[in-house]
Structure formats: C-alpha cells, structure tokens
Amino acid sequence: MTTQFFATVQRIASNLFQVPAGQITPSSSPETIQAWDSVQQLNLVLALEQEFDIQFEPEELDQIHCIGDIAQLLEAKVGSPS
C-alpha cells in the first residue's frame, strides 16, 4: 500500500516543486529539492489534506522530514483503502 501513497505524494510534489516525478524518491527532502521551503511544505501538506480529505495533527507534521515520511504517515492515517 505504501507504494500507492508514495505515487500520489510523488505526483503532487512533482507538480508543486516543478521537478520531474522520476527525481522524487522516498529520501527526497528539503536538502535535495531546491523548491522545498517552508511555504512549499505547507502547500504540500494542504494538497495532501485535500486529496485524502484528512487533517494532519501538529505532532504528525513534526515527523515529516522527507517524502518517505509522508507516505508512511498517510498509510498510518488513511490506512488501506477498501
């Protein structure tokens, strides 16, 4: 299931950060993606909240350091789609 969440995160991040989807890997982070600043991180969170119709808790947002963290968080939060 993680791969499915990863694909969605990858698609949205690719659009937001304007980098080809192929360059976004689970280890991509603000250190490796130039456009990923605090405003873009907020945009990414908002986009995912809209996409999955969820709300992240502040504590959950603190755990986000790379794309892989986000995919894992989504899996824990949204679980396996039926």
Binding site: R11, I12, N15, L16, F17, Q18, V39, L42, N43, L44, V45, L46, A47, E49, Q50, E51, Q55, F56, E57, P58, L61
Partner: protein, 626 residues
C-alpha cells in the same frame, strides 16, 4: 492518472506552439481541479505561454495579519485562466500597519494596481474576539469605534501614499459568540460590536475614493464558518483557513480584481433550448417545454430570474439559438412561464448558422467588442466550439443539472462590478430608444435632416465628485472612439482635475428621444502655449451624430480664450479604435510628428478653428450634479 495524461497533452500543445488550444485546455483543466498541485502546473504553463497570449498584466499587494501564502498560487493560476498575468507582493506577516504608514515601504515600491488589506478581528481586536466576555457592558461598542478608527487611519494613509485601489476585508462574526445564545438577545453583544465595525468600514470606503469592501463575513458564512476554519493550522502556522476553502478566498479576490482592472462583460448571450427552458421548442412545442413555477420547469424559471437580475444591473441580453425563428419567438412572446420577454433582448440571432458567426454579428450590432460578450449555453460542444474559435468571448460554465444553473450564473464573476452608474442601470433602455432613432433616420431624407430632427443638446462640464466615477469608467472601457486609450482610475482623474494646467471635461447628450447620459470625456493639458488632448473619447452610443465635433469645437474655443495658439493631440492606433482614425484629419488637423506608437496632430488656432455643427446646441455647465 487522468490528470497526468491531461498535463502531458497540455505540455504537448505548448511545445507545438498551439497557444489558443493550450489556453482552452488549461481552462478546462483548472476548472476540474483547483488544487495546489494543479495551480503550480497551470502557472508553469502560462509562464511559457505568456508571450503568445494577450494577457493583462496586473499588480496586487496583499497586506495581512495571517498566513495567506498558500492562497497566492491558487489566485495566480485562476487569474491566468481569466486572462490576467498577476504579479503578487505579499507583505510581511503582521507588518501591514508599518507598510501602510511608511511612504518608502516595499508596498509602495512595488507600485501595486490594487492592494488588499486582509486582517482579522482576532488579530486587530482581541477584545472583540477572544476576550469579549471580559468587557463591561457598553465597552464592546467603544472597542468597535477604536477598531474603526484604526482602519480609517490606515486607509487614509494608504490613499495619501498611493493611487492604487484598496480592497478591505471586513470582519467576520465568530461561529459561536462568547456569550452563546445571550449574544443574539443583546443590543451590545459581540456580534453587534463586530457589525458596528463593519458598518463604519462601509462608510469609510464610501468616503475615501478607490476603496472597496470585500465582505469577508459573508464569504465565510457562504461556505460555512465551521468548514471555513482550521484551528490546527491557525494554532501552528497562523493559517486560519482550511485547505479546501483557500480557493474560495482566491476566487473572491479575483472577483474584485476583474472589475477593478476594467474587465467587464457587458452582454449576456443566451441559448434557448435546454437553457432558458427544458426541452426543444421545435420538437416539444409550447405545451411540451419545461418552464413554470413547478419542478422541473421551476429550475429554468430560477435561471431566468437570475438573468433578469443582471438585466436590472445594466447587462445587455441577447439571444443566440439554433431554432426556427417562428417557434422560438412564439415561446418568447407567449409562453406563460417566461420571465424574459422579447423587449428584454437588445439583439437576437435565431437561425441555423454557426454560433461564432452569430456572436460576431451580435457584437457588431450592439457596437461592443467580442470580449464584452459572455455566453450561456447548456451545450458543452457549442461552448468548446466558441472557446476555440472566439477565445475572447467569456463562457459561463453550466453544471449538468439544470437545478444548479441559476447558482452557476450568479456565482460567475464575469458580470461583477464594484460601482454602478446611472448609465449602467439604464443601459438596456437606451438600446430600445436606439431602435426609435434608427426608424427616424430611415424616415429622414438626408443625414443632416436626421441630425436636425434629433434635436440634440450637449452639456459640457468640468468633472465633479458626482461625475468622477462615470468619467473614470469611460476611460477604462471605451475602446472604439478613443484617440489615446489611456486608462485612468478615479484617483488619477481626481488628481488631474485638480491641476491648473489640466482640464477634465465630460459631455452629456440629450435628444428628442432620451437623455443619453454622460457619453464622452476629454482631458486637456496646456503646455508651451499649446493645448494638448491627453484623452478624447466618446461612448459608441452616440458615435456618428457629430457630438465629437461639438466637443472638439468647445475645447478649441476655450483653448483659444485661454491664449493657446494650437490644439494638438496624439492618435495611438489599437486593434479596436479604427472609428477614431480619421478624426483629426477630418477636422483640419495636420500631422506634425510620427512615431512607432502613433501620430501627433496639430491645429493652428490663430488661423483656423473647429466649426460647430449648428444642429447641436452646446451648453457649458459650471458644476454638474447627477
């Protein structure tokens, strides 16, 4: 995956250089998903297309007390799709007061066309929000006065330093007042205090030119206060608005930016079958079409009511329908469920011809540009056909369900305006009177006969506070008979009006049929012994009746009386102002300079003048009221 594919197709169109097609595809793409990701994609596409589309550049400054950054890309994407290339300056977090008060701040250096002041009650007036329960009775109203005075000070300071339009968010009501049910019972409660601030704001906006309100309270209520807010984001990143609602804020900003920038649709062109009524009149007949007080006909009547509201706002209506004219006219004239009747329509094209051809003819008949038209048609295939062939025409996107038609039309921003002149309200009537004039013209033997018979009287006056909005509006939207096409804001006009070397004149024309209202503007500037026409324009309503000659002769006479030796002016050709092309040469002016942008014409006042047409009575009015 669908989205991925669409994005690839759009990228392909851009690579191929098919700008119009890419623009249409981006419009559809954006309407389908207004998300942050889609916004980033749309913006990146338009940055490549920018040079190949005629987008209007516009500069917006946002002054705020909360996080607005995530709304900005949504706004810019929506603006691009609406034909604007919007540059946005976002003021520092909570620094709005310093930025407004400091004449050298980045706000003023940015030189915005419009600034938005977006502050919330909880930031500027915690005592009206979180701490209201601490107040003694009566202190709420005093706090409201204090807040209104703060606003007044900021708005005055802004006006002192800038000519840009200013849009001010009013204050929203709390979802649940601090005193609960008691609040509604009290004349001095929390909601009453916030209402007081908002009433004061409205008065301030009326008083200080170029200031308009964004009804933020109504906006949050429209989408639901609980749904609007996101407490988590507010407490962590000072973003009070939920992710799903940010687009509504961006859309509302754009709703104001459109009319402030002068982008106004003037004509609503409607289809008939399955738009004004359910069914097809040619097949279902008078008894078969759905239209009336009961479901399903009620949905179409609700749409007609929404159209009628636009008519009363001065929007012209026209019909463009593939039908047998007899069938359609019978329904328009006689169907008991119709709220709209033939006299509401300024033009009609009921035939089997191609829609773009009919739309072109309607624009020509009503003397407006294609970009003044908006089309309401239930058929997506027709809409697409028009979008690709006449990209200037605005399209009202209709949902599939007719019960949602009325709301879709009311929500669409194309007919929004921030002020309404007397001329706007009366516009539809002018077109009816115009038909009578055409009949007179046909019955008269010569043009001169017709003009004598019209009994025109022109009143020429210097601009006054009462006429300022209409004068600015005319400079904003007159495209055809306009020699220089210089656009001015109300503030800009007021400034020129106050300069001794400038004259800002308006002309109002009456004839035997009607008062045409304020239909022309001339702005003159004296320098080095010559009087230069900065602006000379006439509404298409009175073109061809020698009104322009009457105005010019008045300006020539008064320039001569002031001691000017020459009257001169530039003609800057545009795509639309061909009707004004021969104006100077026809009145004896000679070319004295030519540049890439246009030609400078001069009339020597010592040896010649402008003959005033004897069939127009000219009256110079000292101070005009409305």
């Amino acid at each position: 995956m669908e989205m991925q594919k669409q994005q690839e197709e759009i990228a392909e169109l851009i690579t191929l250089g098919a700008a119009v097609e890419a623009n249409a595809a981006l419009d559809e793409f954006w309407r389908a998903q207004k998300t942050p990701g889609a916004a980033a994609f749309v913006i990146s596409c338009y940055e490549k297309l920018r040079d190949r589309l005629s987008l209007s550049p516009y500069r917006l400054a946002i002054l705020r007390s909360f996080t607005v950054e995530p709304a900005v890309p949504l706004l810019r994407a929506a603006a691009f799709v609406n034909g604007f290339d919007l540059s946005v300056h976002t003021g520092d977090f909570n620094a709005y007061a310093q930025e407004i008060l400091d004449a050298g701040s980045s706000l003023y250096q940015f030189k915005p066309d419009v600034a938005i002041l977006a502050v919330q009650a909880r930031d500027i007036a915690p005592e009206l929000w979180r701490d209201f329960a601490d107040l003694e009775s009566g202190d709420g109203m005093r706090a409201a006065e204090r807040v209104a005075n703060d606003f007044r000070g900021w708005i005055q300071a802004f006006r002192k330093h800038s000519n840009a339009y200013l849009v001010v968010h009013n204050l929203e009501q709390p979802a649940i007042p601090s005193e609960g049910l008691l609040d509604a019972q009290s004349a001095n409660g929390q909601s009453a205090a916030i209402r007081r601030v908002n009433e004061e704001l409205r008065a301030i906006a009326q008083e200080i030119r170029g200031t308009y309100l964004l009804d933020y309270d109504a906006l949050t209520a429209r989408f639901g206060r609980f749904a609007w807010h996101d407490e988590r984001k507010w407490l962590t990143v000072r973003l009070p608005i939920a992710a799903s609602q940010l687009i509504h804020l961006a859309d509302e900003w754009l709703r104001l930016i459109r009319p402030l920038s002068g982008k106004l649709a003037k004509v609503l062109v409607v289809d008939l079958d399955n738009t004004l009524w359910g069914g097809v009149i040619g097949e279902d007949g008078m008894d078969g079409i759905q239209l009336g007080l009961e479901y399903p006909g009620a949905a179409y009547q609700a749409l007609q009511r929404a159209i009628l509201d636009l008519y009363h706002r001065g929007i012209l209506l026209a019909v463009c329908s593939k039908n047998n004219p007899d069938d359609a006219m019978t329904a328009l004239e006689k169907h008991p469920g119709m709220l709209l009747r033939p006299q509401h329509f300024a033009a009609m094209r009921i035939n089997w011809a191609d829609k773009p051809k009919n739309l072109r003819e309607i624009a020509e008949e009503l003397n407006v540009g294609l970009d003044s038209l908006a089309l309401l048609d239930d058929n997506p295939v027709e809409r697409r056909h028009v979008r690709l062939n006449l990209p200037e025409v605005a399209l009202i996107e209709l949902p599939d369900n007719p019960m949602e038609y009325a709301r879709a039309l009311r929500e669409d921003p194309v007919f929004e305006r921030v002020s309404l002149s007397a001329e706007d309200r009366e516009r539809s009537k002018y077109y009816n009177v115009q038909r009578e004039r055409v009949q007179l013209e046909q019955s008269c033997g010569s043009r001169e006969d017709f003009l004598r018979n019209l009994q025109q009287e022109a009143q020429i006056a210097r601009v006054s506070p009462a006429t300022l909005p209409r004068v600015a509006q005319l400079t904003q939207k007159t495209n055809q008979f306009n020699l220089t096409t210089r656009r001015y804001s109300e503030q800009g006009i007021a400034q020129m009006g106050a300069q001794p070397e400038c004259g800002v004149f308006s002309i109002r024309v009456k004839d035997r049929f009607a008062d045409n209202g304020l239909v022309g503007v001339a702005i003159t500037r004296d320098k080095d012994g010559a009087c230069e026409l900065d602006t000379f324009l006439l509404s298409c309503r009175v073109i061809g009746r020698d009104v322009e000659t009457a105005l010019l002769s008045y300006l020539a006479e008064s320039a001569r009386a002031r001691g000017c030796r020459a009257l001169q002016g530039w003609f800057f050709p545009t795509k639309k102002n061909a009707p004004a092309k021969d104006f100077y040469s026809a009145h004896g002016f000679e070319i004295v300079e030519q540049s890439e942008k246009g030609s400078l014409w001069r009339l020597d006042l010592a040896n010649s003048g402008v003959h005033r047409p004897e069939w127009i009575k000219v009256v110079a009015v000292e101070e005009e009221g409305q």
